[in-house]
């Protein structure tokens, strides 16, 4: 019974990693850049919800909508101001800029909200399940997180494969120059990618803070990095890969905490990452890319 309980909390943690990883993987797959500020957009989403729900006392749903709007706007603005001017620059320059944006967001939040932790009121009102005579309890947050994660993954896959914008994204991802020649507006496509990725970050922020209810300006940074690892694990650029990578990461982390050592869990998770990358350098579901000579 305790094994099931560890497994479920692992899947719940993994689903949150997966939602964040979806944002990383989309932006990487289409814009070919690592948006290290993604974790901090999650934090901004968390603060937006906190302000609307706890400070202004409005409904949680309104909080999530506001957060999604704020994060989308923020994501598009960051793309426009910080990343677009560097479109032709080396990937290293873009990476450093992304790290800079990450620190900018953290410090802005530190200025506005201060470093004191806030207790986040859960936006999930669903009651938890009690199974096996109360010995196995699954919280409402866990159920909602897992469901939301699956729904997001399915709708993203459908969006990319079935809509014109989705097809444009695939084209840009494959060959930016050729896509532009075919009349696809590359800048607009990348901006839309950022908008979707940032809206996902707002949802991830709502679920992350509801399940682990402590909100500080640094809330997003560690889950952001873990989710990045999950994205690499599953094969960066692959949407089902992000889901798989996230869940494997969460489950392995929790089971190694439970059965091996809570002191060593991170070491075990990252050793597994190294092993997987040695065997499959592109990740579990990653596509093999032939370098053009």
């Amino acid at each position: 019974m305790s094994f099931l309980s560890y497994l479920i909390s692992g899947i719940s943690l993994g689903s949150i990693y997966a939602i964040i990883a979806l944002g990383y993987t989309m932006v990487y797959g289409i814009a070919r850049m690592l948006n290290f500020a993604h974790g901090d957009i999650i934090m901004v989403g968390g603060f937006a919800i906190f302000t609307v729900v706890s400070t202004l006392g409005m409904a949680p749903l309104l909080g999530i909508i506001t957060a999604a709007a704020v994060c989308t706007l923020l994501g598009v603005t960051i793309e426009f101001v910080a990343y677009r001017p560097l479109r032709g620059a080396s990937s290293l320059a873009v990476l450093i800029t992304a790290i800079g944006v990450s620190y900018l967001l953290q410090n802005l939040a530190l200025l506005i909200f201060g470093s004191n932790a806030r207790q986040f009121t859960s936006v999930v009102t669903m009651p938890g399940l009690k199974l096996a005579g109360g010995r196995l309890s699954i919280s409402g947050e866990t159920i909602v997180t897992i469901l939301v994660c699956i729904v997001i993954m399915m709708s993203l896959t459908a969006f990319i494969n079935k809509t014109r914008i989705g097809q444009a994204m695939l084209a840009v991802s494959e060959d930016r120059g050729a896509a532009a020649l075919m009349g696809i507006n590359v800048n607009r496509t990348i901006a839309i990618t950022f908008a979707i990725g940032s809206a996902l970050a707002a949802i991830a922020g709502a679920l992350l803070c509801s399940t682990y209810p402590s909100l500080t300006p640094y809330t997003g940074s560690m889950p952001g990095i873990k989710a990045f690892v999950a994205a690499v694990f599953g094969g960066i650029g692959s949407i089902p890969g992000a889901l798989l990578g996230g869940i494997i990461l969460g489950v392995v982390e929790n089971l190694s905490k439970a059965y091996i050592s809570s002191q060593l869990s991170d070491a075990i998770v990252f050793s597994l990452l190294i092993v997987i990358l040695l065997v499959r350098p592109t990740g579990i579901l990653g596509k093999k890319i032939n370098e053009k000579v």
């Binding site: 201060g114 500080t216 905490k257």
Partner: protein, 407 residues
């Protein structure tokens, strides 16, 4: 054109940054005002400010702590606590017929700046130092003060190394002593037989306390049924650690961690219907100040803290402190207040002259400190050993109806 827009947006972003800066400034005026009040107070009882070391009519105490920066809450509290103690002592006629004088210098919680602050105070003519407030700066200053043979008492430097030189004493408990004291308290009050520990293995504070706790638990007949760690990198999900503690049948969970992680642990435990006694150390002090925290979750939480404003013996101090500085005192203020009273007791015991140089004072105090006993805010009948560690009974508080209640 594109460049122009980018430039414009960058400027707008920069402007919003400055706007935020000024916004937060106005938000923190209470703390700053507290600092200013005490600075003014220090000037008032410093008539011979230009006299320097030569003026022999007051005994000079230097205070070091972070008065600005992220740790400013600690340093300002230490400054205010020392200031209040000196005012009280002077109003009551001074010590051995002379007055005390205090001068606080900012170290921004930085070891190098703390040494600079120490040198400034030495030039000013300090005869004893209350400081540094935080551990790392304290270790750096201790190295300087022991070379100079200047007496130093830190109110709150809890790292073991802080009092390594023989001229340095402290008011607070050392990190490992909190672990030992917690185990003794739990054992003597028979709070539980089966105990789980959840600690942060990435900080010296937490792992130091846990190590001493586990060692002493064996002597107290406590059975450690789960000994679980987390690190700063995975301090969001504690469900596995809590499940293991629950499965193992822990009656008490010892949390030698800071209140921020503890608030998450309490929430997750309540989601799991796991309700053991939760027991913390001084890092837990502040859990009721977490914004939006449901204090019902902390109901029944126990913690060892040296100081509580609700205690009968600290009421007068709390009132005077609030009247003078406009904020509630915390344990740092109390530690610093006690440090000044320890210096007063050491002056009375050793009978040093008001114009004695700091090396003479230090030699006299090193013996006197081990002979005095004071009833302070952070402990009654406090004594010190030659190693510089205080000996006082730890106090436990329990959170009842959202407020601390002395046990």
């Amino acid at each position: 054109m594109k460049k122009l827009i980018t430039l414009g947006l960058t400027v707008a972003m920069a402007a919003s940054l400055t706007a935020c800066g000024s916004g937060s400034d106005s938000g923190s005026t209470t703390a700053a005002a507290g600092g200013e009040t005490s600075a003014a107070g220090a000037e008032n009882n410093a008539p011979a400010d230009n006299g320097g070391a030569a003026s022999g009519d007051t005994f000079k105490i230097g205070v070091i702590g972070p008065l600005t920066g992220p740790a400013a809450a600690y340093g300002i509290a230490v400054q205010n606590g020392a200031d209040l103690a000196v005012k009280e002592i002077n109003a009551a006629g001074g010590v051995n017929g002379f007055m005390l004088e205090v001068n606080a210098q900012d170290d921004e919680h930085d070891a190098q700046k703390s040494v600079n602050a120490y040198n400034t105070l030495k030039d000013w003519g300090a005869q004893a130092i209350v400081g540094s407030t935080t551990s790392d700066p304290c270790i750096a200053v201790a190295a300087e003060s022991s070379a100079d043979n200047m007496f130093q008492i830190t109110p709150s430097g809890s790292a073991v190394e802080c009092v390594a030189p023989e001229n340095v004493f402290r008011v607070c408990f050392a990190d490992p002593d909190q672990g030992t004291a917690s185990a003794v308290y739990i054992g003597e009050h028979k709070l539980a037989g089966k105990v789980a520990v959840i600690y942060d293995s990435s900080t010296t504070y937490s792992s130091g306390i846990r190590e001493a706790f586990v060692k002493e638990a064996a002597n107290q007949g406590l059975e450690i049924v789960a000994d679980e760690a987390f690190t700063a990198d995975n301090a969001t999900d504690f469900s596995v650690q809590l499940d293991k503690a629950k499965e193992a049948g822990a009656e008490l969970v010892f949390l030698p961690i800071y209140y921020q992680e503890a608030s998450v642990i309490l929430k997750q435990a309540s989601d799991k219907d796991f309700a053991p006694i939760f027991f913390g150390c001084d890092g837990m002090d502040g859990i009721l100040t977490v914004k939006n925290f449901d204090t019902a979750l902390a109901e029944g939480l126990m913690l060892l803290t040296p100081f509580s404003t609700t205690e009968e013996s600290s009421k007068a101090f709390t009132q005077a402190y609030v009247a003078a500085y406009g904020i509630e005192p915390n344990q740092f203020a109390a530690d610093s207040y006690d440090a000044v009273y320890a210096i007063k007791a050491a002056i009375e015991k050793s009978g040093v002259a008001v114009d004695a140089d700091y090396s003479t004072v230090c030699d006299a105090f090193k013996t006197a400190m081990t002979e005095i006993s004071i009833d302070g805010l952070t402990g009654t009948g406090m004594t010190w050993n030659a190693a510089g560690e205080p000996d006082k009974a730890p106090k436990a508080v329990k959170i009842v109806n959202g407020v601390y209640e002395m046990q």
